[in-house]
Symmetry: C2
Subunit: 345 residues, 2 copies
């Protein structure tokens, strides 16, 4: 079934998609339906704002990304930015630009993914905008979060001798993308009769198609009374993000290749594609893991946190930022992460 969006119109579509939305955050005073949403917080809580613009053909390829997954991921990547401030996401606004090739049912699928993410992370949808587009699908999400002032973690607080830590594992989402690209001909029916070869690769696919934000890590750190000195989420690749923290904190760092957390499926896929798995872990992007620094005195506590790996340490700025390989060589870290505005070389 494919219902043309024009049968509903802008207001009809918004009403249809936001029907039955319930708010769970006490800070949400008024959500969808007026010129603006209204929020209210106690004075000790600061408000966090982050925004992401996702464009078809640049950030996602609908030949292999189901719309529901896309909706889920679009919301979650914004939550990830709020957790990266050591905050809690509380509201989002969702703006959609939709071309005629999309039906009401397509938008329902996309919105179902966004709503599912919001339910799982206890986030309210408080507003947005829906319009037609000449070409393709545009998704713009702004996420609002909160944190007590003294808990907020910026990128610029890393100190010499701090430990550098990362959650989860790296490079898997990038390998999932490579796999999807490889199987694209099969998925689009160009090679009829064949089946995409996804067996034993479920983890890297899920990391690409349905990433999660690391709320669990933020909670574990809080329970262990660990306050990171600097933190950000890894969306453009570990190298790029480590450089951001070091530049903004005016420090250097050493990252040890042997300590990089890499999943078995990531390693296998890199092998299959004849790619260097360390390069994938450093520059792959879309990991949505947390990269953070903690004081050396937290060594024992941080070693006990499940899902966190110590990958290196902060140094004086003069020492620069380097990867230390298994054989002890040092290579300067470079931001080769995914950058849609830079030409590929």
């Amino acid at each position: 079934m494919a219902t043309e969006i024009s049968t509903l119109g802008e207001f009809g579509l918004i009403r249809h998609l936001t029907e039955g939305l319930e708010n769970c955050q006490p800070s949400t005073r008024y959500a969808v339906g007026d010129d603006a949403a209204v929020l209210s917080r106690p004075e000790e809580m600061q408000t966090l704002i982050t925004t992401d613009l996702l464009l078809e053909g640049v950030h996602f390829d609908l030949t292999y990304v189901p719309l529901k997954h896309l909706g889920y991921k679009s919301a979650v990547v914004n939550f990830s930015d709020i957790y990266a401030m050591n905050g809690t996401p509380t509201q989002i606004t969702v703006s959609l630009g939709v071309s005629k090739r999309f039906s009401v049912e397509d938008m329902e699928a996309l919105y179902a993914g966004i709503r599912l993410a919001c339910e799982e992370y206890h986030v309210d949808i408080v507003g947005g905008d829906t319009t037609s587009s000449m070409t393709g699908l545009t998704i713009s999400i702004t996420c609002i979060g909160e944190a007590p002032k003294e808990k907020i973690v910026y990128r610029n607080g890393a100190k010499e001798t701090d430990l550098l830590c990362v959650s989860g594992d790296l490079g898997a989402a990038y390998m999932g993308l490579q796999l999807l690209e490889r199987e694209k001909l099969v998925l689009t029916g160009a090679n009829q009769g064949e089946q995409p070869d996804f067996a034993g690769k479920e983890y890297i696919l899920e990391r690409q198609l349905k990433p999660e934000a690391r709320r669990d890590i933020i909670e574990r750190l809080a329970e262990a009374h660990i306050q990171p000195t600097a933190m950000m989420d890894i969306s453009d690749g570990l190298s790029s993000e480590a450089l951001h923290i070091c530049t903004q904190s005016k420090v250097g760092c050493r990252i040890y290749e042997e300590h990089l957390p890499i999943d078995y499926q990531t390693a296998i896929m890199a092998e299959e594609l004849d790619m260097n798995v360390t390069t994938c872990a450093l520059n792959g992007g879309e990991d949505y893991e947390l990269l953070f620094t903690v004081p050396l005195s937290d060594y024992d506590k941080i070693s006990e946190i499940e899902g966190v790996r110590l990958i290196g340490h902060i140094t004086k700025p003069e020492l620069g930022c380097a990867l230390v390989t298994r054989d002890g060589q040092e290579f300067e870290l470079k931001a080769q992460g995914w950058n849609p505005l830079k030409e590929e070389k």
Copy 2:
């Protein structure tokens, strides 16, 4: 001079465009440069959030809209939504999707317009996202504002016997658009040698290309101790917005044709184009004027406010929403405003 955006890359472009930004709002604690912006307000202040997505070919036509004007307008239409809640805009985030046909200088012009609007309205730019796009220009702006809880005006507070008021005049921006469309062949050089005929039409052009948000009206109402019972801004046309207020407030209304505020240039242009000027005022859209209701007891006070016109009154819901023509006939109001998701008939 045209510098390719790829020479700067995503982070370089953002750094370049946001260089030298200064914050003037006390609520801005941290702006551009981290995973999220950080805001802080006293408890008595509530936070307002609104967002707009503008797509090339749907919301603007760069053959006759200068990029600086586009930037200015993109920001101002968001401020207008915050004023429509009886609030004050304080911060925006700016996300841009840019195709290869745009240069760094183009983005500077667009951003210069956004920055100018922010300076004039004392709004801080606190974040955003910049990415490449496959086609055309995408602008997504989220505006954050504030208001004391008891001052916020929703759409749903209109009461029977309230007076219905509008600021400024209506239909001018729509007439400006018609004029630009008429002169487009000249502007694009298709009819070489001719000059676009804009003499005596400066006002309607400015209303289309460089609208302002009615901060002045909000300030005058506050000075006169008038608290509207319902309010919204007119972006889709008076009819459409009056119906929103009446539906949400569960009331009806009467709007008097003879009281509709219409500028001389709007009337002349409608005449030239053989269009009904009342229809333009009712359905034109993009006026960014304020439509609001006040208690009957404020009649004397509201009559003295410069730039506000009494256009009708609120009724019982059973009476529906109607326009009363000069000869006393009643016509049901219909939302025929500009709606990019509905097919044109």
